[in-house]
Every structure is written in C-alpha cells, then in structure tokens.
Amino acid sequence: MKFSKGYVFLVFTLVLAMLLSACSSSESSDGKNEDGKVTLRFATWDVGEDVELQEKLIDQFNAENTDINVVLEAYGGDYDTKITAGIGAKDAPDVMYMWNYPQYKDALEPLDPYIEERDKEYKENFYEALWNYNSINEDVYGLPVGYTTHVVYYNKDLFDKAGLAYPKAGWTWDEFQEASKKLTNKGDKTTGFAFPGKPDPYDFEMYLWGNGASYVDDKGNLDGSLNSPESIETFDMFYNMLKEEVAITSESWGDTEMKSGKVGMIINGAWYLSAFEEAGINYGVVEIPSFGDKPSASIVSSSGVAMSKDSEHKEEAFRFMEFWTGEQANKERLSFELPVLKSVVESEKLEEDPTKKVFYSMLEQSKEYTPTSFITEDWSQLSENLELTFEQMFNPSTRVEPKKAIKTVVE
C-alpha cells in the first residue's frame, strides 16, 4: 500500500461531494441560475417523434425568452406513477401535462387569477367544452392543449362488399345495429363491430349520455342513475349485440381487429387516424349514432397543461403555458393533435376537412356533459367497481345480464 491515509480520505471525500452535489440542484437561494435564468421543469407523457417535436417547440421558446430555461422531462408510459411520486415528494415538475384533474387537483395551482389578467377573448378562443375537462367546480386547473372526441371508424371496403351505404351524421343506433348485422359474415370471419371487453368506465359513460343517462346524478348518487331504465337499455344494447354475434369484444380497443380488416366498425378517439392509414385500411369516420330523439354525445379525452402548486416560478410557468397552448404551438402540433383554439381551426380550415370536422362536431354536441370522475368523490374506487361489472356483462365466460350486474355496484 503506497498511498497514505490522508490521500484515501481525500479521494473519498471528493467522490462523496460529487455524489451529494449531483442530488441538489445548482440553483442558488433565489431560485435563479448563475446566469440569471429561471429553470422550469416540464413533464410530458408523449413518446417518440412527438417528443422531438416538443423539444423543437421548447427550443423556440427558450430562444425567445432569455430569462427562462424550460427543460423537458419525457416520462412516457409510466407518466402517472412518476407524477404521483414527484407530487408526493414535493418535487413535482413546474408544468405538467394533465388530464385526470380530480385525482391531482390538491397538488395543482388554480389558474383563474392568471387567466383573468388576460383579455376576455383569450379564454373564449378555446372551445368551451374543453374548459369543463380542465377545471373542477368552476375552478380552472389547466389550459387545454389537445383533445379528442370519440367517433365511429368504419371500413369502407367491407361496407361496399355488404352493399351498404356509408353511414352519415345523425344516424341512429338502430341503423348501426342493422349495419353490424349485414357486415357480419361467418364465412369470411368478419364481424360488424368490435369494442373492448374491458371498457374504460371513463370512456363508456358517453353511451349513457347519448341516451339521457349517466353513472351518477349531480349529487353523486348511483341509485337512480346507473340503474335507470335508460342506462340499462344502453348496456342491454351492447350486451345483445354480443349475444346475437354481430359484435365481438376485443382484448385491446379493437384497433388490431380493425387493422386486420376483420371488423367493420370500432368507436374510438383520433389516435388511430394515421395508424389505419399506414395499415392500408380504406376507412371513414362518422359521428357516434344517436338514440333517436337527440344527438349523440362523446367523452372528451383531453390533454391540458397544469401548474404545480409548489412551483417557485409561477409567473414564468404561466408564460410558458400560454406559449404552449397558443396559436403558434397549436399549429406546430397539427400533425398529431387536434387544435383547441377556434382561431386555429378557422385559419387552418379544419371545419372543411371531412375527417377532422367529425371530431369537432362531436365536441360541439357534447359540451353540456360532465364525466362522473369530476363529480364523485372517489372515482378510482367506483371506476374499479364499474370495470368489474362491465367485464361481467361482456366477458364470454360470465355474460351476466346488465340489470343483474349493475345491481351489485349500486348496492
């Protein structure tokens, strides 16, 4: 051993010091970097190419705002777990993508004071329905970034083969079931309609809305809503389509079945537009059918950006959020997100796009509905119970009649 004791200690102190300094940030006490810049952490759930696009947008913002440095943190699939852990450790990102406001609201900064500082037109430029999905009890917690409503995707080739006319806006569930029946062909192993065997309760509520029902009343009571005749009728419709074998349940969302060309119709959000195109499916989209007397409704799968309550740079954070939801950024995201600003939809003439306009008309006719997750106190528990009930109704190994299955949840 040639080295001395002092030398060894020196090396280890250095290593330790390096380790420890890596844990703490380089910010000084007033929250600013040495060069006077404020660092903002921004968390996204997007992956792959979308992140690259976002990186470019952020670079643009950083170049324009010399006093702010935004750092993107791409959490990907584990987004919720990581956000949860961050919030729990009081180390949440300053700005984060958000959709599940009811679950996280206690950790988020209410944005009304910031929005009120802006012109009246600022808030009005966003689609009204989207504010519902970014606020709780009138308090706004996030700025809308993107959204998708749900629509019917249909395979044109299969419609042609069955000699059916393509569906049009304003069609009814009766027509839908009729089409399902005609599209189903045992010999070719094609089925009219596919839906998830384990539907997400958040998504499924839109079918109830279309029939004038919902999971809970405005006080959060299940009894009288979930088991109302209209609700049961809706569940029964899906149940019977399975029973008559004009519909199948999918292990995923029906997209795989659609891609293989074995299924005539599925109902879902805008996520599959490019995927079906790539798969070479000759498809069209149309509004969700109605129950006759009033237009159908869709759940909105929304994405917003929210601010952490613990953020030390709220003014700067809002400036960034404003940029992120502004016209320019909306246009940059056109390739993968439906714009949330009326002015952008107008300038890009999206109302004339035969595919995209369907999503906007679904949005227009769905604005008066509020999902149960925003009303009830304990959605995560209720959602789990509902999920089990749906499985009981739609799983081929149980197939419990909706009326019976629903009974256990209401009680």
């Binding site: 051993m1 004791k5 949860t84 950790a107 292990e251 995560s380 499985e391 081929p396 190994s397």
Partner: protein, 327 residues
C-alpha cells in the same frame, strides 16, 4: 525499535478503515434507498397519507381496515397463495429437470445451457409484452399451435379459469437462474459416488434418488425460499399482462398494494399492506427453515460428526490403551 512499531500501528489502522471506505457508496445507497424508505413506510402505515395534502395520524386504522373492511384484501391474498402453491413446485421441478438435462455429457450442451438461461436475462417488462402477444386469442401463437393439434383453444387472458394458468406459464419462463444454481450444485457432486453406486448395481433413477437429491438438499432449500418470496411478490406480469383481470382473477397481492398506492393514492394503506406481506413472508421463511432440519443434509455437518466420532473413538482408544497399560 519504537519507530517501526509506530509505523506498523498506523498501517493496521489504514488497513482496517480502507475496506469500509471502499464499500461506503454501497452502504450509503443502502441506507438512503433501501433501509431508509423501509423504515419510513412503517411510519407511513400508521398515517392516512394522501399524495397531495396533509398526512394524518390514525394509529392502526389501516391495519383494521385491511382485515375488516376490505374484501379485496382477502381475495388478493387467496389468489397469491393459490399461485404460489402451483408456481413453487412447478418451478422447482422444471429447474431441476433442466439442470439434470444440461449436466448430460452430450455434444452441443453448451448451446442448450445458454438458451435455457437466456430468458432469465430478458427484462420483466419485455417478457410481459411478448407473452401478451403469444396468449392473444385472435392472433396468439399458442392458439395457433393448439389448433394444429385439434385441442381446445382457451381464451388465455379473457377466461378467468385460464388467466392464472397463463401467469404461471409466463413466470415459469424465468426459471433459468434457478436452473443454473441447481446445475452448479449437481456438477459438484463427486463422480466416484455414482461410479461406486453403479458398481453396486444402482440404476439411474436409484442414483438420482439416493445420491443427487440428498446432495443438493441445501440448494433445494435455498431455491424453495427464494421462489416462495418471488411468488408472493409477483407484480410485473400481472400489472402488464392482465392488469389483475379478467374479473379480478389475477388480482395478486402485489397488484393490490400497487393499486392502493398509485391508483387510489392511499400511501399509508399501501404501506400497511406491504408490511403485512413482509410478516407473512417472514413466517413462511421461518417455517421452511424450521422444517429444513428434517430434510436438508449438509455434507459439512456429516463430516464434522464423523470427525467428532473419530476423535471420540481415538480418545477412548487412547484411554483404553492407557487403562490397559495401567492395568
């Protein structure tokens, strides 16, 4: 020479401290990332601890809720035990058979040794996704193969009867590590034992039962304990492959804890759940260890016994000799 002595003293002082300094990063990591959180979760289990907002001290309420007000707790526990009951013997059996196979002196065995071990290297997440594809009712490779044999094509991940079987099959895939441990132990059994047995007329099966099995009992003990723990803590597969479904038939205890923490955001309750599982695992391990004296056979112990016997004999011989001489 006092100077040299002083130097020597200094030298031993360094020698004593340096090793600790070298393992310091690990010790710090262990304290900060394992022991610390562990202790902290015990504290949390006594609180109503939401993700955002204030934690509230509630004593043992989390534990009483678990036992009295949460039917899912019992369901999950039952499913997990059921799984362990199938998984542990099956895994041990498969690992042992594979280990025996790869000890055979056949050409190309190195290749098989590698491919049998390979699955153990793949990350659990990738494994889950791959199995999800293979089990798919519509396009899965399993049902494709079964259709050739004209056998029933189960809806693996949709039928509650089959889902747990699917989980067992998928987890048995990672048997490689256990196989390797068996393999090294079997390899270390002296060859002359088998030769001697063969000369005495023992067949292959007799050799296996009377030589191989007794020689590897300590390894079996080790593998039983580790696989019981692995079975009771199973999470990755059910989280990614079935999500607890269909109809909650694979809602394992690990998933129950995970969901309580990260879905329902009840960190205190989840901590209580986790600590209960800790106690169960500890009890199981203790029980297995207690039972081990009846069936585990340590060569070293036998040698020690023999040596003691020999020494006793020697002593008594010497004594006898002395007695004899005295007489």
């Amino acid at each position: 020479m006092p100077i040299k002595k002083k130097k020597e003293k200094k030298f031993t002082l360094i020698r004593k401290r340096v090793p600790y300094l070298f393992i310091m990063p690990w010790i710090i990591g262990y304290l900060a990332f394992t022991l610390g959180p562990l202790a902290f979760s015990l504290v949390m289990s006594l609180f109503d601890w939401p993700i955002a907002g204030e934690a509230k001290f509630i004593g043992i309420d989390n534990f009483t809720k678990m036992f009295t007000a949460d039917p899912q707790f019992y369901n999950s526990l039952l499913i997990t035990f059921k799984f362990a009951l199938i998984f542990v013997p099956l895994n041990l059996g498969v690992a042992l058979i594979l280990a025996l196979l790869i000890t055979q002196p056949i050409k190309g065995m190195k290749f098989f040794r590698t491919i049998f071990y390979l699955p153990a290297v793949v990350s659990g997440v990738a494994v889950s996704i791959i199995w999800g594809w293979m089990f798919n009712t519509e396009y899965g490779v399993f049902n494709y193969l079964l259709s050739f044999l004209g056998l029933e094509e189960p809806s693996w991940l949709i039928d509650p009867k089959w889902a747990i079987v699917a989980i067992v099959i998928a987890s048995a895939w990672g048997v490689g590590t256990m196989m390797l441990i068996f393999y090294t132990d079997i390899k270390s059994i002296p060859h002359d034992m088998y030769e001697a047995a063969a000369i005495d007329g023992a067949g292959v099966i007799r050799q296996f039962i009377s030589i191989t099995i007794p020689s590897i009992t300590p390894t079996i003990l080790f593998n039983v304990i580790t696989s019981v723990i692995a079975a009771l803590q199973q999470l990755t597969l059910v989280l990614l492959l079935t999500g607890g479904g269909p109809l909650k038939s694979t809602y394992f205890y690990g998933l129950f804890v995970y969901n309580n923490a990260f879905k329902h955001h009840e960190l205190g309750y989840a901590s209580a759940n986790a600590w209960f599982m800790f106690i169960i695992i500890m009890l199981f391990t203790l029980m297995i260890f207690k039972s081990s004296s009846a069936w585990v056979f340590y060569e070293a112990e036998v040698k020690k016994e023999k040596k003691e016997k020999r020494e006793k004999k020697k002593k008594s011989e010497v004594k006898n000799n002395e007695d004899f001489q005295k007489a």
